[in-house]
């Protein structure tokens, strides 16, 4: 189990134990964290699991595939610290990861 901190748009922090191997998106959906839609179910095809990563974690994450950056073009208010949470697989290295959920996904 790895602790992931989800900060929702109302500034509430939800700290969740997520099983290694699941994605950050799945951790949110399975624990009813509001604000992650994940319409396509993790297929990198919809950009509705978009999150902002806290600065100190940015370079600890695996680099983006081209497809992820392409999808982020479609996200609601993408920034330089934007990621698709379906592309972030939870592991011990991510223990304490902080992700911010945008005000909306579409």
């Amino acid at each position: 189990m790895t602790k992931i901190n989800y900060i929702t748009h109302d500034n509430q922090t939800h700290t969740i134990d997520v099983q290694n191997g699941l994605t950050v998106m799945e951790g949110a959906v399975q624990n009813d964290i509001p604000g992650i839609d994940a319409d396509c179910g993790g297929g990198m095809a919809c950009a509705t699991c978009h999150v902002y990563i806290n600065e100190e974690w940015l370079d600890k994450l695996p680099t983006k595939e081209d497809g992820e950056e392409d999808m982020l073009d479609m996200a609601f208010e993408p920034k330089q610290n934007s990621r698709l949470s379906c592309q972030l697989t939870v592991s011990n290295e991510l223990d304490g990861l902080v992700v911010n959920i945008p005000s909306k996904q579409v």
Binding site: D37, D39, G41, C46, D66, E69, D73, M74, E77
Partner: protein, 338 residues
């Protein structure tokens, strides 16, 4: 007014197969879908990606699956109403009246909602103020390019639609193309073409910029864009176009009084009827204990919903269970009876 036994909302695999099941038991139907082609998510999100869990089909793409399903329903000559979204629902003398965005009106005994995660709509600018200009100076698709002749157009986006329109409109308009990063998701040849046009002053390309605000009264006069480093630019523009792909939204179905749970519709598992008599929901859009969002589950749900429709379409008849292998009636409907 089109009178049929059933109206299917959604032309994804689940909706198409439900039409097949209705055809087999002798019920008529037509299908409405907001996209410009049949196939739903399979065709819009992953036409080239493989699917490995269709029973008896070890591997196929979204496009192949759609093509095969359309082939399978061919004997029933089912009419598709594409580029149309259902809008209004009304009950008249025990039957349903449905109006679409294309002003089509249906009179049906029952409705099967196979709407996936909603209808595909263009993704819009995050700016609230863009709404009031929508349809006059802000557009998310182009129907008639001649309105842009000799005007200044600001196109946002980095995919094929944004690039293709930037190239096309650069022949008749002054084009600004704005994208949030240096990389583009569109075809490499188009990216190169845009860069060439930029070098020759035919397009003004701004990368690492995003929309900041639009200014104008009644129609847009200028647009302000903001660089990643915070610097802003403002320029005159007549039109603002956004090409950010499609999103999925439930739309007017939300107002039909159905029991909705997290963007899905609650159904029973006996015949996939909703809380409203004569309205069924199948595929990704329905929910029940144990629901799996698999295409194969959608097929099962469609088969049962089709039979659920029977009592509304033919209240005085009894539906007998038959196999297509041996049923003369089914084979006649399929046009294969020897």
């Amino acid at each position: 007014m089109i009178k049929k036994d059933v109206l299917i909302i959604g032309a994804g695999p689940t909706g198409i197969f439900c039409a097949h099941q209705l055809g087999i038991i002798g019920l008529s139907c037509e299908i409405v879908d907001n996209l410009d082609k049949a196939g739903g998510q399979c065709i819009e999100l992953y036409p080239d990606k493989p699917i490995y869990d269709i029973p008896a089909v070890p591997e196929c793409t979204g496009e192949e699956l759609t093509t095969n399903l359309l082939q399978q329903i061919k004997p029933f000559n089912i009419k598709f109403h594409l580029n149309e979204r259902v809008e209004e629902l009304k009950k008249v003398e025990g039957r349903w009246r449905v109006k679409t965005s294309g002003k089509q009106e249906f009179d049906v005994a029952s409705i099967v909602i196979a709407g996936g995660v909603g209808s595909f709509e263009p993704r819009k600018f995050p700016l609230k103020e863009c709404e009031k200009f929508e349809g006059s100076s802000v557009f998310y698709s182009i129907k008639d390019k001649t309105v842009f002749k000799d005007k200044t157009i600001s196109i946002f986006g980095g995919g094929d639609s944004a690039l293709d329109w930037a190239i096309e409109l650069s022949n008749i308009s002054k084009v600004n193309l704005i994208h949030r990063r240096d990389g583009f998701s569109g075809a490499e040849a188009s990216v190169q073409k845009v860069k060439d046009l930029n070098d020759h002053g035919k397009i003004n390309l701004y990368t690492k910029y995003q929309i900041d605000s639009v200014l104008g009264n009644g129609k847009i006069d200028s647009v302000k864009i903001k660089h990643d480093d915070g610097e802003t630019k403002e320029f005159k523009t007549d039109y603002v176009l956004g090409f950010f792909g499609l999103i999925m939204q439930l739309g007017p179905i939300l107002d039909w009084g159905l029991n909705i749970n997290k963007k899905t519709i609650e159904v029973n598992t006996e015949n996939f009827e909703t809380n409203i008599d004569g309205i069924f929901a199948i595929g990704d859009i329905c929910t029940y204990p144990g629901k799996l969002k698999l295409i194969l589950s959608g097929f099962h749900e469609g088969a049962l919903a089709a039979r659920g429709c029977f009592k509304y379409a033919k209240p005085d008849e009894k539906l007998r269970f038959e196999f297509t292998t041996t049923s003369k009636a089914a084979q006649e409907r399929l046009g294969v009876k020897k």
